[in-house]
């Protein structure tokens, strides 16, 4: 790990802002006002030109970097990438990350109290889409006084938001970083998502989504959902390397249904950890947002036309072992950007860690991301001196 330069942001604090106006959603639903939880790192410069928006993925939230206490358990999900001297360098950039609406970490979501009923929204919470999220993030940008992001950055579902930004608000994005993303899910992806949703919805404790009132939660369904999803975030090779057929603390089979293989106990542990930190209704909503995302659907299934409003300089990265959002999905995006004669650089990082790679510190990946963000920073200096190309 040669590229671990940089320090932790240390203690950070979440913030939140509430917007009163009615939010009309792509699904025809609406929210009569909403709250966004967010965090910021680094300082906004005088020209307000050094802001980077980080969009979180399926089960992420606004706590991207730093930590809340000394427990060692409250570190942000992208702390390896964001901080002083890290690839997303908070000495140079003002970094913003917000929790998407529908979330369960502070932004308005299914577990929030519905002001009209005085009870949690539950399944009354409307379906939200990537476009809706980007719209709320734009509201947050206005609130923070950021008219144009130096870069919008995201991995996986976060990359979809970054892409949507470049389409919905082209004039507000100078650089767009899409990591392990896709322009739409394929049938296999939607299939996996539906397995997860069915696991949750058929759990008797789901109570039609109103489990909050019954002081329970569909934890068995959530556990299965997470176990399946987790397998898809790793690669066959990685699982082989990590667990193989190793048995847990013993040399031979017990011929029982208790977890015997290492991989079984690992996945169960991952499932349990997830149940404790995540809301089932949020998980249902987030997976639906993934399924629905398809900007080309509005332009005759032509991604080039869908991306034609974009003006940003793009950086696209994929990972060779990622079969959930395979390199081919990223290449489709690159091809559409090239057809629009847009500036784009693309890298395909060779590594065994699968879709999860985008969250990890992998030398080739960390280095190239650092190089690209240095480019964003160099142009910042140019624009500050008035010599912007």
């Amino acid at each position: 790990m040669s590229d671990t330069a940089g320090q932790s942001l240390g203690l950070v604090e979440p913030k939140s802002v509430s917007f009163d106006e009615t939010l009309r959603l792509e699904s025809d639903g609406q929210l009569n006002g909403y709250t966004l939880a967010y965090e910021t790192y680094g300082d906004l410069n005088a020209q307000h030109s050094n802001a980077i928006l980080v969009c979180h993925a399926l089960t992420g939230d606004h706590h991207a970097a730093g930590y809340y206490d000394d427990s060692g358990k409250s570190t942000g999900w992208w702390d390896n990438m964001i901080g002083p001297g890290k690839p997303i360098d908070t000495n140079k950039f003002f970094v913003v990350c917000s929790n998407n609406i529908g979330g369960c970490s502070g932004s308005t979501g299914p577990s929030s109290i519905n002001p009209e009923s005085g009870k949690p929204f539950g399944t009354d919470f409307p379906i939200v889409t990537v476009k809706d999220w980007v719209h709320t993030q734009a509201q947050l940008s206005d609130y923070l006084g950021i008219t144009q992001w130096a870069a919008v950055v995201g991995g996986s579902l976060g990359g979809m938001q970054a892409m949507q930004w470049s389409i919905s608000y082209p004039q507000r994005v100078r650089h767009c970083v899409l990591i392990a993303a896709a322009a739409k899910l394929n049938a296999q992806n939607i299939g996996f998502n539906d397995v997860a949703r069915q696991a949750i919805r058929t759990d008797p404790d789901f109570c039609d989504g109103n489990y909050y009132q019954h002081e329970t939660s569909p934890s068995r369904g959530m556990r299965v959902a997470r176990m399946v999803a987790h397998i898809t975030y790793l690669s066959e090779d990685m699982m082989g390397q990590k667990f193989g057929r190793n048995l847990r603390k013993k040399a031979k089979f017990d011929y029982e249904f208790t977890p015997e293989f290492e991989v079984e106990s690992y996945l169960r542990y991952q499932g349990d950890a997830f149940v404790n930190r995540f809301d089932a209704n949020t998980y249902l909503l987030m997976t639906k947002a993934l399924d629905y995302f398809d900007p080309a659907a509005e332009t005759g299934n032509d991604l080039t036309t869908a991306l034609s409003p974009a003006t940003a300089d793009f950086f696209v990265a994929s990972f060779t072992s990622d079969w959930r959002f395979a390199p081919e999905r990223s290449r489709e995006i690159v091809r559409a950007l090239q057809s629009n004669k847009l500036n784009v650089s693309y890298t395909e990082v060779a590594c065994p860690q699968g879709h999860d790679s985008f969250l990890l510190e992998i030398d080739d990946y960390t280095r190239v991301l650092r190089a690209y963000l240095n480019r964003v920073a160099r142009r910042l200096d140019k624009s500050a001196t008035g010599a912007r190309e």
């Binding site: 091809r335 090239q338 057809s339 004669k341 650089s345 693309y346 890298t347 990082v349 080739d364």
Partner: protein
């Protein structure tokens, strides 16, 4: 390995020959762009736009440092990423000889672009001929620094060979120059380029 031949062999002098062949403000793609220095030179001197294509991760980082667009891809898999007729000039510099299917790549170049520029080490240079004829060994030189068993240069050709292939593919040679790696001029170079040229530079178009 391929990158190391490229960066050490193409001089500023060769850059200038290529730059003279490229229209200002045109769309250019540089296949096997290495650290991006040629494309950077063309961006700065001719205000071209376009992309570099490269395989090595280290070179990708350097391209990004050099402020050029770079696409990481294996040229042996063709140019499927790129639309037909989307570039004015397609450059393939000191890379052709390392391709598995040079002929197919040349055809691909003429699919995506109007003009092609190819540079390659001229295998017919007299020093190579000498080493084979009198030493009886595969040539090793500054341009071709590898042994036969570890060379990435699997499809070496001569200036004449290249012209013949262009003829066969129906390409028109617009310009053809042979140079010495150090840029030095000589009468022999002009009269017998296939004997005295270390590096060949050819510009061609669809007939």
């Amino acid at each position: 390995m391929i990158e190391s031949i490229r960066s050490s062999n193409l001089s500023r002098h060769d850059f200038q020959i290529i730059a003279d062949w490229v229209e200002p403000n045109s769309r250019v793609i540089d296949l096997g762009c290495g650290n991006g220095s040629l494309l950077k030179h063309l961006q700065d001197s001719k205000n071209v736009s376009g992309y570099g294509v490269e395989l090595s991760p280290e070179m990708i980082d350097q391209c990004i440092d050099n402020d050029i667009n770079v696409i990481q891809t294996n040229l042996d898999q063709g140019l499927g990423h790129f639309d037909s007729n989307s570039f004015d000039t397609v450059i393939l510099s000191l890379t052709l000889q390392a391709m598995r299917q040079p002929r197919r790549l040349l055809e691909e170049m003429m699919r995506v672009g109007k003009e092609g520029i190819v540079t390659f080490p001229n295998f017919a240079h007299w020093r190579n001929r000498w080493q084979i004829a009198f030493g009886g060994r595969m040539p090793v030189s500054k341009q071709l620094p590898f042994k036969w068993y570890n060379t990435p240069n699997i499809h070496l050709c001569t200036l004449k060979d290249f012209h013949a292939l262009c003829e066969q593919l129906g390409f028109k040679i617009e310009s053809s120059i042979a140079v010495k790696a150090d840029g030095a001029q000589s009468l022999g170079l002009k009269t017998m380029p296939n004997l005295f040229g270390e590096i060949a530079l050819c510009r061609f178009s669809k007939r």
